[in-house]
Every structure is written in C-alpha cells, then in structure tokens.
C-alpha cells in the first residue's frame, strides 16, 4: 500500500520519542545515576551503554565523564616527594613531536655547565595535535596527557603558548587522573627499585638504608576526589597566572603547587605574560650567547 513505508518510518520516530520520554519520566535523579556532583548544579555524567532513548548532555552544566586515556594537551609532572620536576630536558619529546610544538631550554649551573633539568619548557597548544607521542617516548614518565579541555582564550599568543609553570602539575594530580596507568607505572618502578635494592643489599648491608627511600604513596582516587583535584588544578593554574602578573620578570624555576581560589583577569594577565615571555626569551638568548662564547 502506498504510504505504508512512510507510516512505518513515523512509527519509529514515535518509538524514539516515547523511549526518550520514558527515560526522562523515570525522573531527573536517575539521569544522574553514577554521576559525579560538582559545585552548584553541575554534574559529570556518563551515558549508560544500554540507554534506550536519546540522551543530551546539557553542557556546560553537565559534562561527560572522560575515560582515563583521554588525551588533550601534555602536562609536566612535579614529584612532590622529591620536590622536583621529573623532566631531565633530554629533548626526546621535542624530537618526536610531529608538529614540533615543544621548546625546551636546558638549565645550566652557576659555572655554565648544562644540568639535567629544563630551565624553560614551552608547548604551543595551538599547534599541538594531541597525538601523545611525547608521552609514549618519554623515558622518565615526566610528561603526561592532561584532561583539561576548556582552554578557550581570546588571543592565541601568548595565552596558548604554555610555559613550565602552566604545564606543571603535581604527581598526585596525574595519579588521580590516570589511576590505572599510574598504578602500572608504580608497579614497574617498585620492581626496579626492589631489584636495585636486592643488588645493593647483596653488595653491602651498609648501603641498605640509603636505598630504602620511601616509596611514593600509591594513589587511587575516587571520581569525586578526581574531580576535586581537577578543580584544584584549574584554580592553581589561575593562581599561577596571577602570581605571574605580580612578579613579571622574576624568571622561571620553581613551579607553584599552592592551591588558591582567586580568578584571573584576562587583560592584565595577557600583558603580564607577554612581558614575562619576552623577558624569558631575552634571557635564553643571552644564555645561549654565553654558552656559545664560552665554547661549551
């Protein structure tokens, strides 16, 4: 019969409408089963795989729960136990980077001799293609992928050229964001450490207590804590920006891991950062020149 195909199709549309309606009728709370509550009305939620009706996540009030392996922009890991950056400025990440968006300047001591830590570390987030090769090939677990995707700014430069301060996060943040991978890495480190210790113990008992470095706490966080840590990191980044504004020209160096709650003001922030980057650029050029002159 002519028109039966149309009617059948309309029946399917109706079924979808009904399914969605029933899903919604089950009430708003069930929409939030297994979701994470943030401040205010905000939620992080996940579409159940057996969802029948259509689900629309009301971004930005509601957000998707990201899987652990989600990759966006790299972050540098700050080892809070040791109080130092894990990066040794070996430059492998910069070499493997397909769009070549990583700049590293190796630090040098007072005598001008290069040391295994970065003085400056930049990632041009506007160029980064989120491929995570830097993470794959880093031999020191010093660079990992961050989940923070709300990076919109008014100007590409300098806001999207991230410096060390903006890139650095404490290892706890990484452990909370990537619990499975972190646990696996810890396991590898523990084994290596154990092997080392066994070797040393066999060598000399006296060296035993030196090898007995307190192993870092294995951090497995709940999603709530994870979210809280994410929020903290955002606040920290904001704080860092503010701090930069206050102390432009203060040079790089220690990354701030302090938690603050203030919000940045965009205009001043950009200018301050531009000024600071110019300063850093000048300093690096000077340093390079010194190194060249001294023939190192």
């Amino acid at each position: 019969m002519f028109g039966s195909g149309l009617l059948k199709g309309l029946g399917i549309t109706l079924k979808h409408a009904m399914d969605t309606f029933t899903d919604d009728r089950k009430g708003v709370p069930s929409r939030y089963v297994d979701s994470i509550k943030l401040d205010g009305q905000r939620r992080v939620m996940q579409q159940p795989i057996d969802q029948e009706g259509l689900l629309t996540i009301q971004y930005p009030e509601e957000k998707r729960l990201l899987p652990e392996r989600f990759r966006y922009i790299p972050m540098l890991i700050w080892d809070t136990a040791l109080g130092e950056d894990l990066c040794t400025a070996c430059g492998i990440c910069a070499k493997v980077c397909p769009p070549q968006c990583i700049w590293i300047v190796r630090d040098s001591d007072a005598a001008g001799k290069p040391v295994a830590r970065p003085a400056e570390f930049y990632i041009d987030a506007a160029v980064c293609m989120s491929c995570s090769f830097c993470v794959e090939f880093c031999p020191f677990d010093a660079i990992k992928m961050n989940h923070d995707y709300e990076l919109a700014v008014y100007d590409r430069y300098p806001q999207l050229v991230y410096d060390m301060e903006e890139l650095t996060v404490p290892v706890e943040y990484y452990a909370a964001l990537w619990p499975v991978q972190y646990a696996a890495e810890e396991e590898v480190r523990r084994k290596t450490k154990e092997a080392d210790r066994a070797k040393e113990e066999a060598k000399a008992l006296a060296a035993a207590d030196r090898a007995n470095v307190a192993t870092a706490e294995k951090a497995v966080r709940s999603p709530e804590e994870l979210q809280a840590l994410k929020e903290q990191a955002a606040a920290r980044a904001a704080a860092a920006k503010e701090k930069v504004g206050a102390s432009a020209g203060n040079g790089s160096g220690t990354a701030s891991v302090a938690v603050a709650t203030s919000t940045p003001s965009d205009g001043d922030d950009a200018d301050a950062k531009r000024a600071r980057l110019e300063e850093l650029k000048r300093k690096a050029a000077e340093k390079a020149k010194q190194r060249k002159d001294s023939g190192v």
Binding site: I49, R69, A284, A288
Partner: protein, 603 residues
C-alpha cells in the same frame, strides 16, 4: 634476478628513444614491441619502466588483453634529491607512476614507471582510463608535469596564480625551516623561533612572472562546462542555460567544496567539481616528517575514519620495512577497522537522507550508535576522532578493562538493532524510493573506467572488495559476504552501505570472539625507523573506497615520497558524468551518495 637488474641498468643509461634493441625477456614486449624498457627496484616491489611514446599502446593492451581494467593510482616522484643507490645512471628527474589492477581477476597490482622526458610532457592516460582525469591534474598541479591530450589540464588543488609546483623537491614553502624534522631551529641552541614572529600575512605569497592577481579573472566557461549542449529557444519559452556555482560554502557540499554547474532551468547540463579549499599539502608535510610522525597526520585525512587511515599507512610501512605484527594486534586492527566502517556507513546513510531533505532525524538516529562506538575508541585510544591508535608492528595500547564486554554489547545488541531499525524506517519509505530510484545512474563499466571504488561500484553490481580480492592483514580468516546491488542509483548506494555495515558486524562478532591474548607490538617500528630503499603501494578497503599509500624510501628517517590515493578524491571523477541530466536537487544527493570527506579530497 641479477639478470633483470643488469638489464635495467643497461637500458636505463641509454636514452629511451634511441634504444634499438628490444628485450623480449621483459614482459609485454612481445605484444607491444619496445614498450617496456627495463625494470625498476627489483628487490622490493618491481615496477616496469615504460617508454613514453609506447605508453598508451601498452595501457590499451593491458586494459583490453590482460584484464587490468582499473587504474588505481597515478602519481609522480621527483628524484632530484634521491639519496638511494638504485637511481644511479638515470638522467630523468621525474617518474610518473601508474598502478593498475584487475577487478575481474583480483590479485595484486602492476606498477609502471614512465620517466619523464626533457620537456616535462607525457601522454595523457585519460583516453584509456578516464579515471586518470583528476589524478593527472593533481600531478600537473603539484609537479608541473604536462599530460599531452588531457581534456582539461588545469590546476586542481592550488589556485591558478600559484607560483611553482610545490611537490618538487626544490620548492620551498614560505617561512621554510628545514628539509626534514626534527627541526633544529626550534631547539634551544640558537634560541626560539616563535610562530607569531613569522606573520603569515607578510611576504607569504609570490606569483609567477607576468601574472597579475588584480587583472586576472577566473575563466568560468571552460572545457566541460562550455561544451555542454545548449538548447537555444526551444519551445515557447526563450530559455538560456546559465552557470551556477554550488558552493564553496553551500551546506550540502559536505565541506568547502564547489560544484560548477551549467544548468538549464533545473536540469544540469554539465558539472565540474572544484576543490582545494582545504588543501594543506599533506604529502609535502609527510615528506618533511619522519615515518612515525605521519601516523597522527593520517588521522586528518578522512577524519571520520581515522582508524582505517592508520591501518593503511601502518600496513604500507610494515611491508616496506618488513615488520611482523603479532596476532592480537592483527585482531585489534580488524576490530577497529570494522567498527570504523560501521561508523562511516551510519554517518553516510544519515547524511544521504539529510541531502534528500529528511533533515537531521535519520541522521541523528544513525549517529546515536556512532557515538557509542566513538566512546569505545576514546576508551582505547584516548580520542574519538583522531585516534592515532596504530603503530608500525601493532597497536599502541591494549584494551582497557571492561572494553571487550562493552564492545560485545554494542556489536551483538545495539548495532544489529539500529541497522534493522534504519532499514525499517528508510528502505520502504516512498519518498526515499521516489527520490533515489534511477537517480544518478552510471553503468558499472563507466564507474570502473573512472577509477571509482568501494560501495559505489558494489552498488553497481561489481563484487569487488579488496578484503577479498587481495586480502590484507587477517581478513582471509573471516566469513563475510560482499553484498552487491544491481541498479547503480542513489537508492542502491544508500542500501549497499546498510548491507555492508551488517557484514562488518558479522566480522566484528567473529573477531571479538576469537581475539587472542598476547603481545600487541612487534618489530622495531619506533621513531628512528629507517626502512630499506624501495617503494611500495598498499591499499585497503577503506569505508569510502580504495585507500592506498604509495611510499618511496631512500633508507633515510623520512619518507622520500609519501602519496595518498584518496578514495573520496578519485570517486569525484564520476560526479560530473553522474549528475548530467538530473535536477540540481538530485546533484546534491548524488554528491552525498559518493560520500566524500574534504579532509581527504583536498589533502
């Protein structure tokens, strides 16, 4: 073997034209005397070196007598900076490369090299294989090789006033940094190079001598469009045909794409695809990159199907560098590739319907399951679209916990259900039938001649699928059918995708069931990879058609030549012939049913 090499060397050093002796040991020389003058790269994929003046005779012979009816790939290599040993003694700078297949016999390809003589001209293959049309224009555009006898030899990806031919090895882009990555200039010694210091609006553009951008006007009526039949004052109404541009920003062109049409009333008299708005010279970037760096760049070709692109590129490099892939990785690759095919076909069905005027409802129902599959991709690879999941020798990450259970649920429960539902909703729909039946017809032999591949030819009754014709990876282990439909119209092109998605589900079920445990990476395919000297052409059955990678290595850390045979691009050969005689509204759907992605068309 050593004999053949000796032959190649002796012939290569002598000028091709004046070679008096014809070596009958070389293939096809009995049929076309003097056509094949030697062999090239006998240690990897052997190619035949063909005399330019005998090329058309040889191609005709191959097409008519030997069954090589499908010109898969036509490209060019500039050997000016070649560092390998094989090129010693060859005077010509360019090789135009042809890859031919037989859709009737199946099996592997025949590779032909034509060394370009002095004046940069070779005979056009369009007379034998009309599908050479767009590819020869691309070679002309990027390499400056002229094809004698080509009906419409204009630039295709770049604009008319572009200075130079960018794929030539001596052509340098604006703000050129270095020949190959990693760029030392961006590394500490010597300070920074900030992108922002190199303002792109400055001295970025140069024009050829004597070319003035202000006085130049684009020719609107050129060959195919101007040759369209005119009907002067037919009937009572005094009508006149006009030229109309559909695009480049028309929402139904699936991206920034232009269809230049000559229409009379609503009827299309001629149609010419215009492209290049998204051109970023992927291949030049690919030659600056190291082998591994290209992997995430392939994601950006057909960005709906990054897994298939990864797959094709990984297979090509593995063949070139002879890297073995562990069993589990093979299965994971097939699972990802088939999930991608389902994603693509759902997307494409939805948007064929969109173009038909069924705005968004079928599309959104179709992509509901696509989102689920993208969730799976995200969990395993970290990204929904730009997966960057495959590596040379395997895959980069193993499945996370619980992934397989979810995938099983999606494959066994959701996908069959949504495919059935789309079938119920759309296949019997009177409007879909009325708009789809008999529209955009082109017979199978024309499609083959135009180098069209994938679902397009299977909807014309040609049961040709590379997974069967020349099985790659582990596709020979799975039980699946190659569905075909006889009518070669819009309706069949819609329906074939539904059927193919069902076959993919079948493969997925088997692959998920048989997925073995074990290693996921084998061989040494890291970022320092240097494949041995040679060339390779590998193609896979991507969801949109035949996706091929033609790679040339001169044993350096960067590909010497990196060419992508993009199915969307070459399928556009058929757009003009398919649209003539139909209405404008039909042309929109005809384009939709080819299923193009501009990331891949423009590269």
């Amino acid at each position: 073997m050593s004999e053949a090499i000796a032959v190649a060397e002796t012939v290569a050093t002598a000028p091709a034209v004046s070679a008096p002796t014809i070596d009958s040991r070389l293939p096809y020389n009995n049929a076309i005397p003097g056509a094949v003058t030697g062999k090239w790269l006998t240690e990897t994929e052997t190619a035949l070196v063909v005399a330019p003046d005998k090329l058309l005779a040889l191609l005709t012979h191959l097409r008519d007598q030997e069954g090589y009816d499908f010109l898969s790939n036509l490209t060019c290599t500039d050997y000016q900076a070649y560092k390998g040993k094989a090129r010693a003694g060859v005077a010509e700078r360019f090789d135009v490369v042809y890859h031919l297949y037989s859709t009737k016999k199946g099996g592997g390809h025949l590779s032909l090299h034509v060394r370009v003589p002095k004046n940069d001209t070779v005979p056009s293959a369009t007379g034998v294989y009309p599908g050479a049309n767009l590819q020869e224009r691309e070679v002309y555009d990027l390499y400056g090789i002229k094809f004698a006898g080509h009906p419409n030899l204009r630039r295709i990806l770049l604009w008319e006033g572009f200075n130079g031919h960018p794929m030539r090895k001596d052509w340098k882009e604006a703000y050129f940094e270095e020949e190959v990555k990693p760029f030392k200039s961006r590394h500490p010694n010597g300070g920074y190079v900030w992108h922002e210091d190199k303002l792109p609006w400055g001295k970025n553009t140069t024009y050829p001598a004597g070319w003035d951008p202000d006085s130049w006007q684009e020719p609107v009526t050129y060959v195919p469009v101007s040759q369209a039949p005119h009907h002067d004052a037919e009937g009572e109404l005094d009508t006149e045909s006009i030229v109309v541009n559909l695009g480049p920003h028309h929402p139904s062109t699936h991206g920034v794409f232009r269809m230049l049409t000559r229409i009379e009333g609503e009827t299309i008299l001629a149609l010419e695809p215009e492209m290049g708005y998204l051109h970023r010279n992927h291949e030049k970037i690919g030659e600056r990159n190291t082998w591994l760096m290209n992997m995430p760049f392939t994601d950006r070709l057909d960005y709906i199907n990054s897994m298939s692109n990864n797959f094709a590129y990984a297979l090509a490099v593995e063949k070139l560098a002879n890297i073995a892939v562990p069993e589990r990785a093979n299965y994971l690759r097939v699972i990802m590739a088939e999930l991608t095919r389902v994603v693509n076909h759902l997307w494409s069905i939805g948007f064929i319907l969109n173009d038909l005027g069924a705005l968004q409802t079928p599309a959104l129902y179709a992509i509901e399951e696509r989102e689920m599959i993208l969730d799976l991709f995200e969990e395993v690879s970290g990204a929904r679209l730009m997966c960057n999941y495959l590596r040379f020798g395997g895959v980069v990450r193993d499945l996370p916990e619980g992934w397989q259970k979810k995938a099983d649920y999606v494959v066994h429960e959701r996908l069959p259900r949504v495919l059935d539902e789309l079938d119920r909703m759309l296949s019997g729909n009177e409007i879909v039938k009325a708009r789809g039946r008999g529209v955009g017809y082109l017979p199978a032999k024309d499609l083959i001649a135009l180098s069209v591949s994938g679902p397009m030819i299977r909807a014309a009754g040609v049961a040709y699928d590379i997974r069967r014709a020349e099985p790659y990876s582990i596709y020979d282990r799975f039980d699946f059918d190659i569905p075909t439909l006889p009518n070669s119209d819009i309706y069949d092109r819609y329906y074939i995708r539904l059927l193919e998605a069902r076959e993919s589900v079948k493969i997925l079920r088997q692959a998920l069931k048989d997925l073995p445990n074990g290693e996921i990476m084998g061989g040494k395919g890291g970022y320092t990879l240097r494949p041995p000297e040679g060339e390779v052409y590998v193609r896979v059955e991507a969801p949109k058609g035949e996706l091929g990678f033609y790679l040339v290595s001169d044993a350096k850390p960067n590909p010497y030549r990196y060419h992508v045979r993009a199915p969307s691009y070459i399928n556009l050969n058929a757009l003009g012939p398919m649209s003539v005689g139909y209405k404008i509204a039909d042309a929109i759907v005809i384009l939709g049913a080819i299923d193009i992605v501009l990331g891949e068309v423009d590269r």
